[in-house]
């Protein structure tokens, strides 16, 4: 009897455990092939996954065993898939040349097998040449175990992926070779001689010369917001005309998982008349932040919760060079659908000069304003106050008096003052007592009296003080909702955010992000790795610490080591820097236990961003700019996390093999 019982028990246990094991394995087959797709009205050969342009959504639950068989049906082309943001063994990371992964040869299959150890919104894409631009990218969502929401606030009735991407009529190979022929090949909004004449007329010859000579000596363009233009921006693979639509019922909560899967584009994302609550950044949960808009860098993800009330909303993601929108609709399914979207009006493009040099007075389209700057003066020695940039491009009916604004400075202080007032309306603006006295590369006595400003958006994001290492040591004033006096140097590192956000609206800032769960490791970093981002725009060469990937030595980190990654951007472009295999904690002014996890951080032009990293994943991890052509041009390196014996001799030989090897995870090629 007892024997029988034990048998039953045994069978029961066996059955239970087998189903448990079975349930935990999630398998996918992905076939990469070249097919003709028609996105822009012109049939073009592009890469599809399982016959789809914009690869299919992969869904997992935390704790699953993922098995993904990738079949490469491309002709004469190796391929690969990288699981962007996932924590996994190095060989499963899918970067050719790393962790002995060598890509997937044509007509071969590679089986990716890994334990899903996290939840959130991620994506996947090719890491071979420019295949990502050509279509090999798709969303990957990992739900919490049993789809239980992490917090009550995250409980949503609908869940949509909103994947943003950029589609080009040229292939990635053509784009790269065009950029190599002429780096300004795609620059179709450069400044002309008439812009220079205008500036001379406005500022005088001397000021214009001073401004222009700096740019000319550096041989850089002010207008280089993005290297590649003529993109069609897609939302979940659909053009604005095709209008991707997410349905909801009145009263429902909707989770939108924004993924910037573009090759080269940053977006400013907004849903007019709908407040968004950011609950996750780069797949990692954050404390809720209500915003009206956010800027999403290439390869970043943000999850937002919305509670739509109207019948229709338009999701608008505008590229930061203002060349276009990715647009879709949120629609109440109980109302009649709106067929066509209304293409939103582009916001003004910001010139790089305002961000980084601050020498341009662009007041081109001011209407009916009384503007007196007659006695604005600048007493300076030694190149001080070289730049004061007032961009007031779309002010209407304002009374503006800056009559006694002055600035006394010595020795290169105050190199850039940037007042961007691009979208002010009907305001009374008195800066009469604005003063700036400063000595030796600091701005200790800057007194901004802006007490009489009302409801204005004042972005001083690129007011800066270059310290020794050219880093923005923290002079970023983002005063989007100001009623206060700002006189101190701000403590946020992140400051490049001139998105022309309308009055009274709130844009997400990096400093708003706080990890939902307290960080486990709050140790101070043992050492710092400096990562200087540079480039030669003329020849389209992009480098880390002055070297391209094919010339450089990898970064080496001890297993378990706590390090600081210091990204210093010496170039005029923003670089979304992505680290594989591990999350970095963004030093955004939050307490160490609250710092958000990020797999990609935007490093704005001329600025410094730092992150902390606990090197707790063995292997070789790519660290690179996620702008595809920057990476192709060389802006990439390898970060090796290895067990080191006390002698610490040759780290290359002691790189631990991923554990899955021992457990017999099949890494053979299938035929």
């Amino acid at each position: 009897m007892s024997k029988k019982l034990s048998h039953v028990l045994l069978i029961g246990v066996g059955l239970f455990s087998s189903t448990w094991v079975m349930a935990a394995v999630k398998e996918y087959d992905l076939t990469i092939a070249e097919q003709t797709v028609n996105i822009t009205g012109k049939p073009l050969k592009r890469i599809t996954v399982n016959g789809k342009f914009v690869a299919p959504l992969l869904e997992f639950e935390e704790g699953d065993d993922a098995v993904i068989r990738v079949h490469n049906k491309l002709k004469n082309q190796d391929s690969s898939i990288h699981w962007h943001g996932l924590i996994l063994p190095g060989i499963m990371d899918g970067v050719p040349g790393f962790n002995q992964f060598d890509g997937i040869a044509p007509n071969k299959t590679y089986e990716y097998k890994f334990k899903v150890r996290q939840n959130g919104t991620y994506w996947y894409h090719s890491h071979s040449k420019g295949q990502e631009q050509d279509g090999l990218y798709g969303p990957l969502v990992i739900y919490p175990k049993n789809k239980v929401p992490l917090t009550a606030g995250e409980k949503a009735d609908r869940d949509y992926v909103v994947l943003l991407s950029d589609f080009h009529n040229s292939t990635s190979g053509q784009i790269m070779s065009n950029l190599k022929k002429e780096a300004d090949y795609y620059q179709n909004r450069r400044e002309t001689v008439f812009d220079v004449f205008k500036q001379i007329k406005r500022d005088g010859l001397k000021a214009t010369w001073q401004d222009r000579s700096m740019w000319n000596q550096m041989r850089m363009l002010k207008t280089d917001m993005s290297d590649v233009t003529n993109y069609t921006f897609l939302m979940n693979g659909k053009t604005p005309e095709q209008n991707w639509t997410g349905n909801f019922k009145a009263g429902e909560k909707v989770r939108l998982r924004f993924i910037n899967a573009s090759a080269m584009s940053f977006f400013d994302v907004r849903i007019p008349n709908l407040k968004m609550t950011v609950v996750s950044a780069d797949g990692q949960p954050v404390k809720p932040v209500p915003v009206d808009e956010f800027r999403i860098g290439t390869a970043e993800t943000y999850d937002v919760i919305v509670e739509p009330k109207q019948a229709n909303y338009q999701i608008e993601a505008e590229s930061i060079d203002r060349s276009g929108f990715s647009v879709g609709t949120l629609h109440d399914e109980n109302t009649t659908p709106v067929k066509n979207i209304v293409m939103p009006k582009p916001r003004p493009r910001s010139l790089l000069t305002m961000e980084d040099m601050g020498m341009d007075h662009d007041m081109s389209s001011m209407n009916g304003m009384d503007h007196d700057m007659s006695s604005m003066k600048s007493e300076s020695k030694d190149q001080s106050m070289s730049g004061m940039d007032h961009d007031m491009s779309s002010m209407k009916g304002m009374d503006h008096d800056m009559s006694s604004m002055k600035s006394d400075s010595k020795e290169q202080s105050m190199p850039g003052m940037d007042h961007d007032m691009s979208s002010m309306k009907g305001m009374d603006h008195d800066m009469s007592s604005m003063k700036s006295d400063s000595k030796e590369q600091s701005m200790p006595g800057m007194d901004h009296d802006m007490s009489s400003m009302k409801g204005m958006d004042h972005d001083m994001s690129s007011m800066k003080s270059d310290s020794k290492d050219q880093s923005m040591s923290g002079m970023n004033h983002d005063m989007s909702a100001m009623n206060t006096n700002t006189s101190e140097t701000s403590d946020v590192v992140y400051g490049w955010a001139n998105a022309s956000t309308p009055v009274g609206q709130r844009a997400l800032k990096y400093s708003d992000l706080q990890s939902l769960n307290p960080q486990q490791d709050t140790r101070a970093p043992e050492r710092e790795i400096e990562i200087r981002l540079g480039g030669n725009m003329e020849r389209y060469i992009w480098t880390i610490n002055g070297k391209k990937f094919n010339q450089t030595e990898p970064f080496k980190v001890k297993y378990g080591e706590r390090i600081r990654l210091k990204f210093i951007n010496d170039s005029m472009m923003a670089h979304p820097m992505h680290l594989h295999g591990m999350f970095m904690q963004l030093e955004n002014g939050q307490d160490p236990s609250n710092m958000p996890n990020k797999h990609t951080v935007i490093v704005p032009p001329g600025k410094t961003v730092t992150t902390l990293l606990t090197a707790d994943e063995l292997g070789e991890w790519a660290i690179h700019c996620h702008l595809l052509y920057h990476m192709s041009a060389g802006m990439m390196n390898k970060l090796i996390v290895a067990n080191v014996d006390s002698n610490g001799t040759d780290m290359k030989d002691v790189v631990a093999q991923p554990k899955t090897n021992d457990k017999g995870v099949n890494q053979h090629a299938h035929h």
């Binding site: 190796d78 050719p96 391209k548 094919n550 093999q657």
Partner: protein, 308 residues
């Protein structure tokens, strides 16, 4: 005599070209790797691995699971490293080590003040990595009722500073109006972008018959619109010494300055008009030619530039 001379110069030219191409690709990882894999030092392990189905790409994954005796452990290790390096280099190359090319072809018809026409063609190509490139330039000019003259240069171009390449190589030239005028000169110079966006090319030449000369070209783009671009330019040729039969006068032998205005229908197709002022010092008196007076005057041109 003539044939030998011709042969001599042509041989020299071809040797130089071959040499140059060797230099350009010397740093090319793939070539090195091919050499490695066929070298007699390769281990047996690698031979086996090379023959495996699935090819080279998958080799290293099997390596770790391969049971090996103590004896060939060292060997396998060595081959393993070799394979890893090879694959690694291949992937590294895709991030900054690629080979690109840029070619510009220009065809221009000009008339001078007297209405005498001329046709000039020029092709310029740069091919290689960011650091090491081969630069080829060819010019072909024919004035009305004259025979053409042409030159071809092949230079190794080495990137030495962010905006600058140093170049060295040879130039072969011939003037069909003068028999036996073909010659080969050594060339050394720089190509790059000077501050204030001045595209600059400067060369020194030296060759047979104690010839020493220099050339200098500078141009800059001014955008009238995104597509209509005007380009002032300056070209100078100088001769320091020349004992050849068809020598030009020493000193500043030629100077041309003008404004070329192009319309970029696309980035690749660019018709242009050209107004220039040109000065030529004239020929030196030699056993084969009389001295000529210097000439100067306006030139009006129209043409097309193609980029591919």
């Amino acid at each position: 005599m003539r044939t030998t001379k011709k042969l001599y110069s042509k041989t020299l030219l071809s040797i130089a070209l071959i040499g140059l191409s060797g230099v350009v690709f010397a740093n090319d990882g793939s070539t090195e790797n091919i050499d490695n894999s066929v070298s007699p030092t390769q281990s047996e392990g690698i031979n086996i691995l090379l023959k495996e189905p699935g090819g080279l790409g998958y080799v290293e994954r099997n390596v770790y699971q391969k049971p090996s005796t103590d004896n060939d452990k060292g060997k396998t290790k060595a081959s393993e490293n070799l394979m890893l390096n090879q694959n690694h280099d291949k992937h590294l190359k895709e991030h900054g080590g690629q080979i690109f090319q840029s070619t510009k072809f220009e065809n221009e018809w000009t008339v001078d003040e007297d209405g005498k026409g001329a046709l000039g063609s020029k092709i310029e190509t740069l091919i290689g990595t960011d650091e090491n490139r081969l630069f080829i330039e060819a010019n072909w000019d024919k004035t009305e009722s004259n025979d053409p003259k042409y030159d071809v240069s092949a230079l190794y171009s080495r990137n030495v500073a962010p905006f600058w390449d140093v170049q060295a190589g040879v130039r072969y030239s011939e003037d069909k109006n003068n028999s036996n005028s073909d010659r080969v000169d050594g060339v050394i110079g720089v190509l790059g972008l000077a501050p204030y966006f001045f595209e600059t090319q400067a060369y020194l030449y030296g060759g047979e018959n104690n010839f020493w000369g220099a050339s200098f070209e500078v141009e800059r783009d001014f955008l009238l619109t995104q597509k209509l671009i005007t380009q002032p330019y300056l070209e100078m040729d100088a001769v320091f010494s020349d004992n050849s039969d068809y020598a030009a006068k020493s000193g500043l032998s030629e100077l041309k300055t003008g404004i070329k205005t192009r319309y970029e229908i696309t980035k690749r197709i660019r018709p242009f008009i050209d107004v220039a002022y040109q000065y030529e010092k004239g020929q030196k008196a030699t056993s084969m030619q009389e001295a000529t007076e210097s000439e100067k005057g306006w030139k009006y041109g129209a043409g097309i530039e193609l980029v591919f």
